[in-house]
Each structure stands twice: as structure tokens, then as C-alpha cells.
Symmetry: C2
Subunit: 385 residues, 2 copies
């Protein structure tokens, strides 16, 4: 186990009806909020009215900025920074999924910064302060509600920052708000959540017994509950398990003492940047390919994955067969919930694979479990064809 | 799953050599600390000198108060409150195990309170402020380093408080500091940690899939690593797994969305209060007895415990047999690590069982999985004979 430093400062307020507390919680952060949201589905669902009523009840004034898109754009972040400065807003309330929260995090660190917030994403500086951020989560997937990450796109570049400073102060999570998620988004969220765990699971750090088991536990919860939520969209229990798993998958509890890989995310970011694919769907294509490319590096770990997560009976005479069976089970599971597992299924043509491979390693080799250079990234993308 | 509210504000600083950061971390809390510790084992181990040097390096002045005993006493808490007031101390540094930390928590809420801090333990009031508390942990057991609990004794009464306010601000955890723990204390710590998980595991709340699995994962980590630490006291990896498990077992992550039982703890508190037994050893006696008394209430849950935690092959025709096998495996495990599993082994005579049963339910029935009244408590104690 490696040395680590960990806390989970975000207060999670979880369960039925919890969105009614949003006014009271936001009031603790400030009295003038930027109300940030996405395409307007929160207006259709009635959540928008509940939130606005709760803010008004507590005397929180607010300025609205909707329109966040999947793979959130820097232009809207700039607009948010401008609004916060112009109206002297002192906190942000993000109502939505990972894109809205990531956009809000960017606005938060952008407001007190004299330069362009994009500097942080280009690794030209580190933020030292932020507007406090609260969240009402509507999509369990990105884990951004308690994570230190934000991913923002500018043109065809999609970059990430990771700072403890940007973790939300509170996250209101009512599983009922996810009943209306379309099946594809439910499944893509599941693939995203599982990928966050898998990125941490495949590590070269040895003696990580507890976090291995916590990762396996969280993966098994996803495997058990995702098909239930797809078959019965209003099953509170399945929705609740998935929602809580989404947070724990990405708040770094499961990374304590380990070093994660993250090559798959870096490659997928290039898919999303060029083709604007759904992040979870991109991950469900890239991960099996990455596994086929890398499993020989540590067959034992893939055997453990197969046996403990998927219940594969171990073939002691041919461990490689067990390892491959685990990868196959993951692939079949993702297919079974309607996720693509090849680039053609994702609608991505094959004429820019070289370009994506090159871009994925623009900052140098990616991945810690196995170091991925340009030819490896290309090989992985070709395995996904 | 029940609604819940959760955060883990304590910053855990985990790993080799981390105690050298104690000056810097304490300096963030204040400039005048109460240095609180136990019987003086930290002087023998050299930890005391390291801590004092680190505090001096950062210009933190301090007043010392050693002498905390297992089952910490109210008298010493009063002395700590007096010292903090007299010397205008603005923070507390606890160096030790659960008793030292629990005592420090009591001092922390006692200092700004105009009445007697015992009021909080007698449920006559709730603390609204505290001196900030930092910890250097030397015994993984009580989980007090990140928990909301403190248990203090006055005469032969042993009472607990639970408030988010009293969670430490930081906890420095170096597994190397636990190499010198005697085998009995290592094993008693393991029984304590496992009991914290078991108290949460046996719940009447249904659909708690993720936290069930997280509990099972943490239990399996303890089952795997405790015998290693006993056989090889200087095995860093085993010590590290146990130490991190101790925190996660009791910081309430494993209670999210569930209602724990805690009858066993209430009964054990009376054992400790009358006979000053080691808390973990008392739990290893009471828990199997509690299980034999209650398992018929929910055989399925005990079957799950047997199958998932202990790898018992399920007897589908006779689930009760599987349930009992799980209880037996736990009992045998605790015996195998040198823990007592009967009152005679603990050195407790049988002449005051009625009195202990009466005292255990002094505030009313205990236990949420099964409500335990006086006759039940007595039956449990008799099962432990």
C-alpha cells in the first residue's frame, strides 16, 4: 500500500425528497447563487420549480445559466464567470449530472482568477480559491458530485483538472430523480461508474487487499442493480444502489493507497473530443480493448477480477483462460445493458484512429498499470474496431 | 435503503513516516496545544520525542496531560478541561489509541461548555462547539480517529456520546507505529474492528446491497490480515490493511442508508464498567452469544453472513445449519487469534449477570435488529458462560 492523504469533505444528503433541503443548504454557502443547469430536462421534470421555490423560501437570490451540454464547453464556463462577477454572486448551485457539475467547478475557480480558467486545464497554473459549490444530482455516472475532477472542452480539445479545492460542499442525491433517465443514459452511466472503479482496480501497487475488495464490492453492486434499473426504471432500491455507488466509485476512497491507471479515460477523451460520443459509451468500447492489450502484464490480477467480480471458476492449469473469461464477461455485460463495445457500434469511423492515438499521448505516455505510448493507443483503438 | 446524511471530514494522513507531519498539521489548528496521551508507551517507543520535536519545529507550544487509561475516566477529562482553560490552549493533539482520543474529544467539548461535560454523556445537553482535535493513532481498534463517538467512564458508569462535531480534524496513521503492539492488543483491536462492522451489518433495513458488500469486504480483509499481523508483527502490509479497515469500520461509511444494532456494545459496556475488561475482548465474548440469541429473527441474513464472509457452502435444505456455521466460524476465528469467547475466559464471574443485564437497558431496550430487554440481556450473558 502506498502512503495517502484522504478526506471526503462533501456532505452527501441522500434519499427520497432530499431536494427540498436545497434552499437551506445553499443558504449556508451564500446569499447570491449562480443556478447552473443543462438542456432543460429539469424544467420538464418539475425539479426546476422545486429548486427555485426552495431557494426563494430561504431568501437566496440567484441568476440562471442553463444550456450546459454533454462534454461541457469552455464558452459557457466563460459566460458563467462573467455572470458571477457582474452580479457579485457568492456561490454556485449545479442542478444536473456530471457535465453541469464539471462546468460549475470550472466557473467556481474561474471567478476569483485573474487569467483565463483554461490555464488550469492546460496545466499552466493551479487554482488557490473557488466559489463554494452545491449540487442537486440528476444523473449517477460521472461521480463529479464528490470528486476532485472537472473535464471541460474547448474546440476539439477535452482536458481535465484534479484539485481537492473543487469538491462540492454538498451533494443532494434523490434516487427518484433518476427514474426518468432513458435506458441508454442509465446504461452509459453504469459503464462510466464501473470504469471509474476499473481504472483504480488495475494497479501495480501490491498489497491493496482492502481497496481491492471495496472495488469488487462496488462493481458487484453495479452488476446486480443495473439490469434491475433498466427493467424497472422506477425501482427505488436499484436506483439508490447505483446512485450511491456512483459517488463512492469516484470520490477517491477506492484509490486510497493505490495508483490508478486512467489510460482508458485518456483515450476515450479523444473519442469524445472528436465525435462528441457519450462518455460512458466511449468507455465501454475502449475498456475491453485496453484489457485485451494489457492483460498479459499481470495475469493474476485479471484472474482475480474474473473470479471475484464475475464468479468465474478459476482454471488453475490455464490462468490466461480465466483472465480472458473475465474480460469477456465484462464485455458481454455491457452488451447486455445496451452499451456499444466496438467503434462501429459507437458510430465512430476508422479514418482518424492514428490522429486520436497521437492526441491521447499529447502530454506523454498515459497509463500507470501499463505505460501506453502512441503505437499502443493505436493498437487499442484497432482492437476496438 | 434509508435516507442518510454523510461526510468524512477528517483528513487521514496515512503511511510510513507520516508522524513527522504532526507539527505542521497541528499548527493549522492552533498555536497552543494540549498534548494528550496514555500510560507512557509512547515514551518507550520514541514516538513522544518525534511528536515533541515536530511541534517545536513548527512553533506549537503545548501543555502535557498523560495518564489516560483504557476505559478513560471523567476525572482526567476534568483535569484536561482545567488545563486548557488555565493555559488558554486552542487545540488538542491526542497521541494514542481510542481511549486517548475519546478522552480528548470529551475535553474538546468540555472546554467551551459552562456546565460539566458529563451532562452530554448523560444526555442532558448537546455540545455546540469544541476545541479542534488532531490525532496520531497508535492502536487500530476503536476507530475513534475519524468517528463521531466518545466513550467515557465515571465510577462504574460507562457512557457514550455521538456527535459529528467531535470528529477529529486530522488523523495521522503510520502502520509502523503498531508493530510493537502486543499480540493480545492486536487481536482485541481486530475483534473491536470486526464488531463495529457486525453492529452495522445486522440490520432490519432491506435493500442495502452496496453497504452489505462493503461490510463483507472489510470483514474479509480483517479475517485475512489479522493472523498475518499476529504471526509477523512487523508485516507492514497486514498492519496497514488492519489500520485502514479500523477507520472505515467506524466512520459511518458502512452505516450509510442502514440502521445498526449496537445491543452488543451496550451489554459489553457493562462488562467493561464493572470489570474493566479490554473492550475488544468483551465484544468477542458477547457477540457470539448475541448471535445465538437473535439469529432466528432473520436467518437469511445470517446465511448471507456465513456464505459471503466465511465462504460456507450454503445448505439450501437447512438454512439454519448454514446460519449456525457462520456464527461458529466467527467464534472459532476469534479463538484462533487468542480472544476469549466466554465470560470465564475473560475472567468475569457469574454472580453479577443480573446486575449487568439490568444496567445494559437502563435507558430502555437496546438493539435495533432485535430489541433487547432485561431478560434478553440476561439470556445473552448466560449464553456467554
Amino acid at each position: 500500500m502506498e502512503n495517502f492523504r484522504f478526506s471526503m469533505p462533501t456532505t452527501v444528503i441522500f434519499g427520497k425528497g432530499t431536494e427540498k433541503d436545497v434552499g437551506k443548504e445553499t443558504r449556508k454557502l451564500g446569499s447570491r447563487a449562480l443556478l447552473h443547469y443543462g438542456s432543460g430536462s429539469i424544467k420538464k421534470s418539475g425539479l426546476y420549480e422545486s429548486v427555485v421555490a426552495a431557494l426563494k423560501r430561504e431568501g437566496v437570490e440567484f441568476v440562471e445559466l442553463g444550456g450546459v451540454q454533454p462534454n461541457p464547453r469552455l464558452e459557457l464556463v466563460h459566460e458563467g464567470v462573467r455572470l458571477c462577477r457582474e452580479h457579485k454572486l457568492d456561490c454556485i448551485l449545479a442542478v444536473g449530472g456530471g457535465s453541469v457539475i464539471d462546468s460549475a467547478k470550472a466557473i467556481g475557480v474561474g471567478v476569483p482568477y485573474s487569467g483565463d480558467v483554461w490555464d488550469f486545464y492546460e496545466r499552466k497554473g493551479e487554482p488557490s480559491e473557488t466559489l463554494p459549490l452545491g449540487v442537486v444530482l440528476t444523473i449517477p455516472a460521472a461521480g463529479s458530485e464528490a470528486s476532485m475532477s472537472s473535464v471541460v472542452s474547448r474546440g476539439d480539445r477535452k482536458l481535465a483538472i484534479n484539485f481537492d479545492l473543487i469538491r462540492p460542499v454538498f451533494a443532494i442525491m434523490n434516487p427518484e430523480l433518476t427514474y426518468s433517465l432513458p435506458p441508454y443514459q442509465t446504461a452509459a452511466g453504469a459503464a462510466d461508474i464501473m470504469s471509474h472503479i476499473l481504472e483504480r482496480y488495475f494497479t501495480n501497487v501490491d498489497h491493496v487487499d482492502l481497496t481491492d475488495r471495496l472495488c469488487e464490492a462496488t462493481l458487484k453492486t453495479m452488476i446486480h442493480n443495473t439490469p434491475i434499473a433498466l427493467a424497472e426504471p422506477n425501482d427505488y432500491h436499484a436506483r439508490a444502489e447505483i446512485m450511491w455507488a456512483s459517488t463512492l466509485a469516484h470520490n477517491d476512497l477506492l484509490s486510497t493507497g493505490r495508483v490508478g491507471d486512467w489510460a482508458t479515460h485518456m483515450i476515450e477523451h479523444e473519442l469524445s473530443a472528436l465525435y462528441d460520443v457519450t462518455h460512458g459509451a466511449g468507455l465501454s468500447v475502449v475498456f475491453p480493448a485496453w484489457m485485451h492489450h494489457t492483460y498479459r502484464h499481470d495475469i493474476d490480477r485479471f484472474v482475480q477480477f474474473a473470479v471475484r467480480v464475475w464468479g468465474v471458476e478459476q482454471d488453475f492449469e490455464a490462468p490466461e483462460r480465466t483472465a480472458l473469461e473475465g474480460i469477456d464477461r465484462l464485455t458481454q455485460f455491457w452488451k447486455s445493458i445496451g452499451m456499444p463495445v466496438t467503434l462501429p457500434e459507437l458510430g465512430v469511423p476508422q479514418d482518424r484512429l492514428e490522429e486520436m492515438a497521437k492526441r491521447a499521448v499529447a502530454f506523454g505516455p498515459v497509463g500507470s498499470f501499463v505505460s501506453i505510448r502512441e503505437p499502443d493507443a493505436l493498437a487499442i483503438l484497432r482492437l476496438a474496431v
